[in-house]
């Protein structure tokens, strides 16, 4: 590494520190409520509600039928109970399944957007007005359930790239959506996937044509804003042969007393020789210091790699009261590669059960898993991961590393690795460590003039470095900030 690069990073660190200072004392800074008229459904779920959502979204018939099938299947399923998380039973009839800011029609420019809405984005630090001018990030901003504004569309269209709200894609590219919707995560997959398929109201659709390298990071911000409204997002990313795309997903939610349900589905398809990098920074409202409130986050994320394709999942999970999430990769084609880099932070009474599945089907498939769990307060943090080597997967290799760091005496860290090997000509390695943040490390940094809070942040960020270096720069900054925020006051 050149000196110049390291200095650049150091500069960055200095900026981050200002941010951290600025954000000190904020319990959940983004816990405000925007006063916008909302179009809401009554609470509860029924075939009628499913059909009403479908109607409001102007679904074609096949989509309506798909939703109804998914709903009927969901009725036959039971909530999964195997994760190491505890929460009161969710009353699915006490949830509102659709809410959207009342807007008349599709807007041509940002000037037409409700200024109240724009203000919300500004508070969240999403400089949408400056996006076009200043940054190289196209933003598809999702406010509650309806997409407000999509930027950079034209630039992307020139290359034949589709990056649009799912509802638009269903209208404009029905054949593509029909081909891939539910192809990786069918509604029969699990309880929450079925629920999502029935009531999803919005999401993003990305298609990168053959041989095209997407020239910018594609980014979507999600936000829950309506009382008791579940958010059911659906994201589909298709990279055609030899294509490349980096997709960023980040979330914040306002402070609420009632638990809010979030059950998203993400489907990735990497065709021959294609590469998808999918990065997430998740900071849904985690509940207060006593564990009251907070988002329940039940997510199904999965990708399929065809020959020589590569999918990298990178996630930084700091939010939610409950996190239930296992971004997975099916290595179907020979020589395909799957990667999973994860940082999961839990504090107070948060519970996270997260990890990945790497399913090796093709020959010479490779997967890497690096998971860093940080537990503070009374929280529980579990890594749950499956590595499966199919019988035809000659020469398959996996390396897994799961490290846990404990910040208090009352928190828990757990590792549940599942390994299924049906091919003798394969190599699977698993390493795991658990450590407690050491007083000697903190004193060493104190003795060099660094406060305990900054010392903890520095040590924890160092612990997560292998994962953070996989994140795009803007996200790495946000991740560092989030980590400091969510661990504030947890040591000393």
């Amino acid at each position: 590494m050149s000196d110049e690069t390291s200095i650049k990073k150091d500069d960055l660190q200095a900026d981050e520190k200002d941010l951290i200072n600025e954000l000190t004392d904020s319990e959940y800074k983004w816990g405000f409520v925007t006063d916008i008229e909302e179009e809401e459904f009554p609470k509860g779920l029924s075939e009628d509600i499913v059909r009403r959502i479908s109607k409001i979204k102007n679904d074609p018939k096949w989509m309506t039928e798909y939703r109804v099938k998914a709903y009927k299947h969901w009725l036959t399923l039971k909530e999964p109970k195997w994760a190491k998380v505890k929460y009161p039973k969710i009353d699915f009839q006490n949830i509102r399944y659709y809410s959207a800011p009342k807007q008349k029609e599709q807007l041509e420019s940002l000037d037409d957007v409700d200024p109240e809405l724009l203000k919300t984005f500004e508070k969240l630090g999403i400089p949408i007005e400056e996006q076009k001018k200043l940054s190289n990030v196209a933003v598809d901003a999702v406010f509650d359930s309806v997409s407000v504004k999509t930027t950079f569309q034209d630039t992307l269209m020139e290359k034949g790239i589709i990056f649009s709200p799912l509802s638009e894609a269903i209208k404009n590219h029905p054949e593509l959506v029909k081909e891939y919707f539910g192809s990786v995560v069918p509604y029969t997959d699990n309880y929450y996937a079925a629920l999502n398929a029935a009531v999803f109201s919005e999401g993003s659709f990305v298609y990168i044509p053959k041989g095209v390298r997407c020239p910018m990071e594609l980014s979507t911000y999600f936000r829950i804003n309506a009382m008791d409204t579940g958010q059911f997002e659906r994201t589909i990313v298709i990279a055609d042969e030899g294509a490349y795309v980096s997709y960023l997903e980040g979330c914040t939610a306002p402070m609420r007393d009632n638990n809010q349900l979030h059950a998203a589905v993400v489907e990735l398809v990497a065709k021959k020789g294609a590469q998808i990098k999918y990065s997430t920074v998740q900071n849904w409202y985690p509940g207060d210091k006593d564990g009251k409130g907070g988002i329940y986050n039940f997510v199904t994320k999965r990708g399929v790699c065809e020959e020589s394709a590569k999918i990298s999942w990178t996630q930084v999970e700091t939010g939610s009261a409950i996190t239930w999430k296992y971004p997975s990769t099916i290595l179907k084609g020979d020589n395909s590669v799957g990667e999973f880099y994860s940082v999961a932070v839990t504090n107070n009474y948060q519970q996270a059960d997260t990890g990945t599945k790497m399913v090796h089907l093709g020959k010479n498939t490779k997967s890497t898993i690096v998971s860093k769990g940080i537990s503070a307060g009374h929280s529980n943090n579990s890594y749950r991961g499956l590595v499966k080597i199919g019988k035809h997967a000659d020469g398959a290799r996996n390396f897994s590393q799961c490290d846990s760091m404990l910040m208090s005496d009352k928190c828990g860290a757990h590792t549940f690795p599942y390994i299924e090997i049906d091919n003798k000509n394969s190599i699977v390695e698993h390493e795991a460590t658990t450590s407690k943040i050491s007083e000697d490390q903190i004193f060493y940094l104190n003795q060099r003039g660094i406060s305990t809070e900054d010392a903890v942040s520095m040590i924890v960020n160092g612990f997560c470095k292998e994962v953070f270096k996989e994140l795009p720069m803007e996200f790495a900054v946000e991740a560092t900030k989030l980590l400091a925020l969510s661990l504030e006051g947890s040591v000393g």
Partner: protein, 249 residues
């Protein structure tokens, strides 16, 4: 610079320091010697504020401030530096990031401007040369995977980078071969000037061949039982500590 009066301290309920008196002025180097378990390292840790060590009496005035009232980080920001006997590893945090944060925190506390990246880089290159550290060592994580000698060199590198008013070097010579000892000593001599001071905590006389002290103090059972000039070291080397501890002197 620092005035220690009748300092008493305990660790795990056990009284280790029984009343230490020591005056160190700018421009001076003091060596603290003594047999194992006499309280040398305890003194270093109490002065820098390690929470396991509890001061139970006396006072310490540093730069006109009551040192024992300050947090460990504020003591460091006031210009107190400890060269650790066992430097700690911090995986994933580069030496450069760590030092830049430290320097900026110290500057901020003293209402001085932060170093520009260029100034920081220049200083880093200059100081690394003094202790013979190459760039790869600097960009690596703090002390992670360093050999014993590299860790001690890194302490002296930090000393030069932070340029404190008072450096307490706790057994900086332990575990060093003769070449490394020379490098480390050069670094300390480079640091010395009429505005700062050094307290060397050491077992052995050999360090004092390279870093010549102005005063030598022998600590025993938590008290300074003998003080003298640099010639005292030779006497100790020849006669051992028994000569003093048995009260024959």
């Amino acid at each position: 610079m620092i005035s220690i009066k009748n300092l008493k301290a305990k660790i795990d309920g056990k009284e280790i320091l029984q009343g230490i008196n020591l005056e160190v002025n700018a421009g001076e180097v003091h060596a603290i010697m003594g047999p194992n378990g006499s309280g040398k390292s305890t003194l270093a840790n109490v002065l820098t504020g390690h929470e396991k060590y509890e001061p139970t009496g006396g006072e310490v005035i540093f730069n006109g401030k009551n040192l024992l009232d300050l947090s460990p980080e504020d003591r460091a920001r006031e210009g107190l530096f400890l060269g650790f006997q066992y430097p700690v590893e911090i995986p994933g945090v580069s030496n450069a990031t760590f030092l830049q944060t430290a320097i900026n925190e110290i500057h901020k506390y003293n209402n001085e401007a932060e170093l520009t990246p260029k100034e920081f880089l220049d200083r880093m290159k200059e100081k690394a040369k003094v202790v013979g550290m190459d760039n790869s060592l600097i960009s690596r994580s703090v002390n992670t995977g360093f050999s014993g000698g590299e860790k001690k060199k890194n302490e002296i590198f930090q000393l030069l980078m932070l340029n404190p008013k008072l450096a307490i070097l706790d057994e900086t010579d332990s575990g060093l071969d003769i070449d490394a000892l020379r490098v480390v000593s050069n670094g300390v001599n480079e640091f010395r000037n009429e505005n700062n001071a050094v307290i060397l905590v050491t077992h052995y006389q050999r360090l004092l061949d390279y870093i010549v002290p102005d005063f030598i103090h022998v600590i025993y059972q938590g008290e300074i039982i003998k003080s003298g000039g640099k010639e005292l070291a030779l006497e100790l080397e020849a006669k051992g500590y028994d000569w003093i501890t048995n009260g024959e002197a």
